[in-house]
């Protein structure tokens, strides 16, 4: 029973756009009201034959109902059938670009590291929405930070730094747990060791137990010849990792994620 529950929980789309309010169709559009109810019913057994058929029925009843296309696309994404996923999510974007462009851009980045494709979507959304383009569907990032990671991915690290610094400087913005971590790593990659150390220490204020912070600090101190500090940070990274504190996504791996093998390899230098 517990397994059924965990499978069911993971089948419910983590990457879900919020469920529609069917009541708005109730008095004005009966076919779309029915399509909406059908789609909500179909969301539970995600990826099943009946679910996919229910979404088809919903689309037939209400061809402009973008939510049905979006939900129908999700199992294809999670199961590696990206061509089918793209056809369906494209239709959702066509019908309702503001609701789905950010999601599609995020998925291109997170599932395929399609940096240029992701940037096209996120920048298109930005052209409509201004710079308040929302958050990644797993809740880890503001999509401005995802844009920055895409620029890093295509090799434009300075642009990545500019975007993250600009985002962090906005008074209304509350930093997310990995913003300073990524900025610190990019600064490290461009050779700004002092800046990177400062940012990673700041990152610890947001995610105290994250081994990644200590791992990258360990690398930086090693580079500076500060062996004791390097070793103590790497040991802290190992201890937190072994306690289970690590970045996690059930479907993919976050960019620059640190694993125990990375930490152990660096610690071997001190043997």
């Amino acid at each position: 029973m517990r397994l059924i529950l965990i499978v069911a929980a993971l089948s419910i789309p983590v990457y879900a756009i919020s469920q529609p309010n069917c009541e708005i169709y109730k008095s004005s559009n009966e076919p779309c009201y029915t399509a909406c109810l059908l789609s909500i019913r179909a969301t539970g057994p995600q990826g099943s034959r009946q679910s996919q058929k229910d979404f088809d029925a919903a689309i037939e009843l209400c061809p402009s109902f973008d939510y049905a296309y979006f939900e129908k696309s999700v199992p294809y994404l999670k199961r590696g059938e990206f061509a089918t996923w793209k056809k369906l999510i494209d239709k959702a974007v066509e019908l309702n670009p503001i609701a789905h462009l950010g999601y599609r851009g995020w998925c291109k980045y997170q599932f395929l590291r399609d940096y240029r494709g992701s940037l096209m979507d996120l920048e298109k959304l930005e052209s409509v929405m201004g710079d308040d383009i929302g958050y990644s569907m797993n809740g880890d990032y503001h999509l401005e930070i995802v844009k920055a990671l895409c620029y890093k991915g295509i090799g434009d690290r300075q642009k990545a730094i500019d975007i993250i610094e600009s985002q962090l400087s906005k008074p209304e913005y509350s930093p997310m747990p990995y913003d300073y971590l990524h900025l610190g790593i990019i600064k490290m990659e461009v050779g700004d060791v002092g800046g990177a150390i400062e940012l990673l220490n700041k990152s610890i204020q947001y995610s105290e137990y994250l081994p990644d912070n200590y791992y990258y600090l360990g690398l930086l101190y090693k580079k500076q010849g500060m062996i004791a500090k390097s070793k103590s940070n790497l040991e802290k990274a190992r201890a937190y990792y072994q306690k289970g504190y690590k970045r996690f996504d059930p479907y993919t791996h976050p960019m620059d994620q640190v694993f125990i093998a990375d930490i152990e390899r660096e610690l071997q230098d001190f043997d």
Binding site: I6, S48, K53, K78, F82, L112, R113
Partner: protein, 170 residues
């Protein structure tokens, strides 16, 4: 009341589709991504614990489960068995397969897309190299929950640019 009757009729009509062996029954597998045994390409000695209940890798809530985690997979594909293809091999090649309840793999299927996400085939040489290398991976962790073992679907996607393997996902 009229609205209620209309919706009721529609829902009954839609639900009744599942009770007959209509054409639409065969348009979708029982689950998106299901791989059924094909005697022409699959190894008959590869057995599943439960053909009716093959989970997805993410159902265990542990992400990709491989001994040595993602670095072991990266090390293998990007360093130990360097793989390259033809100059026009650009896009994403996905291998979807089953990890059975003993941690063995089988029923490999190839799915390719170009940079615009349209289906495409990659060069036979690259495809066979990736298939061979993936079949040889032997560190898959048995899908286990609450003391029971399960078969599950896993996939690996290879990001390829001009024949060069850039990244292994997920």
């Amino acid at each position: 009341m009229k609205q209620f009757i209309f919706i009721h009729i529609i829902l009954i009509a839609l639900c009744s589709c599942g009770q007959n062996a209509t054409k639409t029954d065969f348009e979708y597998p029982l689950q998106v991504g299901d791989i059924t045994f094909d005697p022409e390409v699959d190894d008959p000695s590869f057995k599943l614990c439960d053909e009716e209940r093959v989970l997805q890798y993410y159902n265990f809530g542990k992400g990709l489960q491989y001994k040595g985690e993602k670095p072991a997979i990266n090390e293998y594909f990007l360093k130990s068995v360097p793989i390259s293809g033809a100059s026009d091999d650009t896009g994403y090649l996905t291998l979807r397969f089953v990890v059975n309840c003993g941690g063995k793999t089988g029923r490999f299927r190839v799915l390719g897309i170009d940079q615009g996400y349209s289906e495409r085939e990659f060069s036979a040489d690259l495809t066979s190299k990736l298939l061979k290398a993936t079949r040889q991976l032997d560190g898959w962790v048995v899908g286990e929950y609450d003391g029971r073992v399960f078969d599950y679907y896993q996939y690996l996607t290879f990001k390829i640019e001009r024949g060069k393997l850039i990244e292994v996902l997920p």
